[in-house]
Amino acid sequence: MNRTATSSQQSGSLHRFANPARFLRLAQAVFPWSAGAMALCIAAGLYLGLFVAPPDYQQGESVRIMYVHVPAAWMALFVYANMALASASLLIWRHPLAGLIAKASAPVGTAFTFLALFTGSLWGKPMWGTWWVWDARLTSVLILFFIYLGHMALINAFENPERGQKAAAVLTLVGVVNLPIIKFSVDWWNTLHQPASVTRIGTPAIHSSMLWPLLLMALGFTFYYVTVLILRLRAEMLASRLRAMNRLAAEEG
């Protein structure tokens, strides 16, 4: 059963690894590389961001917060997008690993969303003079944070783990409409938050000495997601084996 590989990392290639044992072997092989790449990229990004990149003309040294804030915000959206793909995979094609991927990703996405809000607040205070402002982008990111929390609460609210995964999948897909709102809110509404300067078509409106640490941190965070995802997926699969063993033991009395 071959599906053409799409830009998503879920549909095509993962079908070959629907077999849990095979997937585990792949995960175990990938793990040290992912962890190593994570450490390298983050170390390089931190070095460039804290020591090499120049201070900003207007914002001075506070611009260095950007090197954690922006990658964290990107990851908050990226992880959710992955969860949405996994949820669709679970509900439409009943992909056996999809539910676990969504469940394992949620804490990572929640952490990045929290960091985006927290570092954003610390960046906003010297820049705008306030810890918080109810503009379109901040409000929708806060909503994203609550959707993540709701997802985790829902997935754990059922005795049957599969029911929890499927219910959370529906919730994730309903909340996906939040993503374009977050992305485009700074364009649609006159907000305090600055518009996009990296992902514009054409040259990014940001100097390369600042772009490199930004991209390296983003890459490092992505490897972090993969690394932690592998850890949590393996833990989930162990948990279901332990549950199955408990059931067997209970049946034998």
Partner: protein, 67 residues
């Protein structure tokens, strides 16, 4: 890099904003990593204990490709 170490740590007066940002980010991400790691090793240890205690049962082989 100009100036001394103290100037670096002062971050042009923004130290109170920059360093907590990095510190909290590091703590949260490292914390999540270690919690996930610990959960995995705990469950693995539990599984090993249970398999050592009980005779290993043969389970029906799972279908290799399940869609």
């Amino acid at each position: 890099m100009e100036g001394g170490i103290s100037e670096f740590f002062a971050m042009g007066g923004y130290a109170a904003f920059v360093w907590p940002s990095y510190a909290v980010s590091g703590l949260v991400l490292a914390g999540l990593f270690f919690v996930s790691w610990r959960e995995l090793t705990r469950r693995q240890a539990l599984l090993d204990r249970l398999q050592a205690a009980a005779p290993h049962r043969r389970r029906k082989p799972k279908d290799p490709e399940r869609t």
